[in-house]
Every structure is written in C-alpha cells, then in structure tokens.
Symmetry: C2
Subunit: 360 residues, 2 copies
Amino acid sequence: MHRTFPATFSSKVASEELVFRVRRLGVKISVTIKDIARLLDVSHTTVSRALNDSPLISEATKKRIVDTAKMLNYVPNYSARSLVQNRSYNIGLFFATLGGSTSADFFYETVHGVAGVIDQCYNLVVNGLDQFDDFDWVDSRRFDGVILVSQSERDDQFVYYMQERKIPLVVLNRKIALESLVNILSDDRGGAKAAVNYLIENGHKEVALIGGVPGFQATSERREGYFEALMENGISIRGSLMEDGDFTMESGRRAMLKLLEVTTPPSSVFAMNDEMAIGAMAAIASSGFSIPEDFSIVGFDDSRFSAYFTPSLTTVRRSIGEVASRGAKALLDLVDGTTIAPGRVFVETKLIPRESVRHI
Amino acid sequence: MHRTFPATFSSKVASEELVFRVRRLGVKISVTIKDIARLLDVSHTTVSRALNDSPLISEATKKRIVDTAKMLNYVPNYSARSLVQNRSYNIGLFFATLGGSTSADFFYETVHGVAGVIDQCYNLVVNGLDQFDDFDWVDSRRFDGVILVSQSERDDQFVYYMQERKIPLVVLNRKIALESLVNILSDDRGGAKAAVNYLIENGHKEVALIGGVPGFQATSERREGYFEALMENGISIRGSLMEDGDFTMESGRRAMLKLLEVTTPPSSVFAMNDEMAIGAMAAIASSGFSIPEDFSIVGFDDSRFSAYFTPSLTTVRRSIGEVASRGAKALLDLVDGTTIAPGRVFVETKLIPRESVRHI
DNA sequence: CTGAAAGCGCTAACAG
DNA sequence: CTGTTAGCGCTTTCAG
C-alpha cells in the first residue's frame, strides 16, 4: 500500500510512520476528518478547509490533505455537515399524487428532467402529497428546497405551509397566485386553442371535448382554450359534446362511448391528454368506426407513444421535461441564495400534426 | 393562545408564566428539545425520552411533554438525530439508468410500488447509477438501505461496492449470484416461454423475436424462454427471425421493418416488451399489413396502455409493482435489523390473451 | 423515574 | 496560512 503514497506527503512524517498510523486506524468503518488530521499532524480545521477548497490554506497542504483523503476513501458525514450548516442536502420533488391521474409518462419526464439538473451533492426525494396526513415531516431542516408539481387548488394548503416555513419552493404545472413564487408551466390554454383551431381549419364544424379531472387547473385552462377557439370561429358550444374524464385511458374510453351516443355525433374530438385520446380511439375502433375517416382526434402532451399509434396521434407537445429542468434550475438558484426574479414562466406548446385528423 | 393549553400542564408552572415563556421563545424558526425542556422545567433528556416513547418515564410527564411539543409544532432535527444514531433516514431507489431503456411505465410502477411501502420517516431518494462517475456519494451514513433496479452485469460493480460498505441492499429485476442478497424479480423466462407457446398453440409455425438491449438480463432470460418454447415444439430456430432492439418503441419499429424484408416472413412476432411491440405494430400498419390478420404479435409487461391499442395487445403480465413493493418491504426489514432469509423470489408472470393474436 | 455530562463529525469564529 | 475553541441538536451512558 505504501507504494501508492503520493510524494507530497509531509516531510515531517516519515513514510514508515505514516504506514503505521494508517494501520492503527484499523478497520474503521469510515474515515473522519479527525483521522486525517491525526495522520498528517495538522488540525482538523485545516483538513476541513482543505476538503472544502477554502482559500485560507496553502496549495501544498491542501494537496497533501486532499490526496490522503482520496487514498483513505474519505466520505464526508452529511449528517454532521447538515447539522452545523443547517442544510439537509435534500431536494424534494412532490407530486399531488403518485397514483391515478398522474400519468406514467408525465411522471417519468418530470423526474428525469429534474434529476438531470440536480447536483450530485443533493438527494432527490420523491413523494406524493397524498401519502401523508399532515406536512409535519416537511421541514426546512429536512429539505433545502422543494419542487411541487401541482394540479389543483387543493395543493395551495401545501404552498402556504411552505411559505410559512420559508422553505424555497418552485411550483410547476399550475398557475399560482402568489407573485413571490417561481412558477413554471406550459401554455395549456394556448395549446388547447391551437388543437381545436386545427380541427376547425380542417373543416370540422363540431368538436367534442373530453375533459380531465374536474378541478385540475390543466383541465380548466384547456377548456378555456377550447371555448376560445370555438367562439372565435363562431361555433356554438354544445354541452352534450363535453364529457368529463380523469386523464386515464379508461376514462377516455368511457367518455367517447357516451359521445358516440349523442344524436348528432361530432366529427372530431379534442381529448385533454394523450392517454384519454388513446382510450377514445379504442372506443371508436371497438364501435366499428375508424380514425380519421369517421372521427378526427387530437390529444395533448405528445407522450412518447403518440407517434406510434395507428393512426399516429395528432397532439400538442408541451415539454414536461423542460418545465421540470427549468424548475429545478430555478430551485437550485433559490437554494444557493442566488437572487432570481420570481414570477411565472410559460413553456410553449406546439401542435404536432399527425394522421389522426382528416381534412373535410 | 393560552386558552388552548392542555389541562395537563405542569402545576408548578402557572399558565401565565408559561405564556410568557412561549412569548420569549419569540419568532424562533424551529423549536428544539431544549426549548421544550426549559419551558416545562425538565431536562432535555427527559424531553427526548418522552418524544421517543421511552419506557423510562412516567406517563404523566410523557403526556405533558408530548402535548407541549405538538402545540409548539416541534419537529425533530433529523440531521442531529442522524448524526448521533448513525442513520440517515434515506432509502435509495437506484435505477441503472433514468433515461432511454427504462420505460416510463416501468419506472412509474416501480417508484409507485416502493413509495407505497416506505414509511413516512424515510426519504425516498431516486437516482440513476449512470448519472455519476463513481459511487463515493453512496455511503452508509447517507443511505440506510438501497433498492437497486438492475438490468445487467454492469451493475455488479455497484453491488460489490454496497457489500463492501455493508449497506443493506435489495436487488430487483435481475438475478444476482450472491446468495446472501435479497433478490426479487419476475419469471422472465417462463413468461416468454408462455408467450411463444401461445403463438404456437394458435397455429403459428414461425415466431420472430424482437429482443431487448443486448446484455440486459431480461433480454437473455426472455430469449431463453423463446428458445425453449421453440425447441419443445420442434420448431427450428432461424437467425433471420431474430432482431435486436433496445426496449424503445423506435427500436421495435426498426426491427419489425427488417423482419418484413425477410424472404419468408414469419406469421407471428414476440416482442420482449410492450413498447417494442407498439413500435412493431406501427411498422406493420405503415407497411400496409394488418394485425392480427397478417401478423400476430405478443408483447411483454402488460403496460397499462396495452389493453387500449387497436387491436389490443396480447402480452405477458409481470407485476412490476409487486416486485417493487416486496423489495421495499424486505429492505425495510433489513434496515430494521429484522432477520429475514435472503434469497431469490420470483414473482409470477401471466399471459394475458387479447386481440393481437389470430388463430390459424 | 429523572438529570448531568459527554460526544456524534463537522464548520466557523477568533486568535495567533 | 494554521490552530484553538465552541457548538449545531440530539441520544445515550452513568449517577442519582
């Protein structure tokens, strides 16, 4: 082992002596700063400084210490550091729920987007708000910052809780009234409007709507977009063409089955997400109709599978990954104390025309 | 505020005095054990004991303290507790990778399965092994235990690392040679065999294979199952009917396009996961063929969308969620020091017949 | 049953 | 540039 000793070792300490000391360290489970200090005859402060790249230390000693630390596989004790620094090195990524109406694709893209930005020194802690009765476990000493993927006003309770505790918070996916907050979301209304406009441009006089979970902000925003498009094109809104879903495939299927029973069925459908669009497509097919010949359909999200359907699904792309990564970057700045302008950022949406819409 | 004081408060401390003391606490960000101790004129040791439900304390004082703590919204400082107890209260959930070949559905089901079991006192830390150059950051003081969702032998390095550090580890999704480990996975081989057998039973004389990432254990196991089924039915193996994919939809599409160019194309295809099956279905459709008339296809995983395709996809269900939750339970036992028998658990797979297979 | 004292490993004034 | 000292909030001996 002593053959690997870096040459920069203290001249005061003979190589043999050092070997002896390392030996005496024995089968210690983990090396501490004190160990290194004793080994090199310096104070533990000096070691701490070296390891934290402090400027208050000579390059020589720093190198000596850093080398030794590496050799001994020193790993800092995060609990100790956390205790004294009052930081947890935990970043929370909280979803309103981990089950049901959070679609797999959405979840995946979000976690992926955040994880790609978060630094190695942080733990990314994933959780569903609905898992717990209260928020007591969310504490400034346990989370340096939190990214909330919000769906509805029900989450406001949590937002206020966080404000109270002064825990840095970034809210994704839903407009938040608090101006002091960083708030990143996609332009749901604009996207929905574009989707419906596209159907109208393609000659559809009637556009049915399959809605998401009532109460979710994405649902109301996309409904607004739907309304706007209809109104601007002088198309009257028919209640019988609007069905509620809950963002799951099954709900899309059920909603479509109902729409098929309307006396004068629409020629086109806008589903508020791709999963419900799939469900609707399944319902249409199982009823003996075909897409886009009998029905045109547009989804929302551009889930990764939407290009692979038959027919491929026309949809609205909103980069969930970008929302997530921008949110994560903002949170990191917030945690680092970098002053960033709070406020709302809309990530653009874009219509992706594919085969599920027919021009009439 | 003093109206809400519980009646059990120390008689030694008059209500007014207590109010005064609480006042003096002022706008402290967080209440500590010491605060409570001072408030109630007991030692901080006593408070600690009460809060930890120690038997070395009278019911009366315990109640008094617990009530006060609740009233003051006391939250323990996990860093401090961790430091002294040498536990992090972090549970790691590590994937070989967070991108690419980890499908959204798989990821979602796994996280969901684990999160449903993990106790509130733990943080669930999600990570991809490929995000980092080394494993130094994975430390026994930073993770009480880790669940590894493994794909290939490349992850062995990590497994050994964990063994060395004696960090409790549960490995999911892939057979691990180490007998001392808890190892939970689905019966990939059996599932694949069932899938291929099903095609053969339905009169198919030729079954093409679309494989997963070469090197992934799921890939080789499922290939084995494919071979076994063919051999037991006296069907010869044709190399031209086997294409490699990487578990993504696009790879399934490409593989199928190649299979369509074979001189005598097969009447059926077994794709090693549902995503590739979708890709294959897209390729078949775009080439002007239809399913199941021209080609029968079976997937693997029973992803939630497979029932909603047109035609719906015959596939093999393996409960990823169950693998995950069983793994999490085992890890929790391990962390708690409960002696559990290590070893391998196979979660059963089950063929789910749907419309994508035609009987000839 | 309760309290006093020690110490976990680290960082951060404050002196030299 | 380096060392001394103190202390983060908690649990845990060890004495009463």
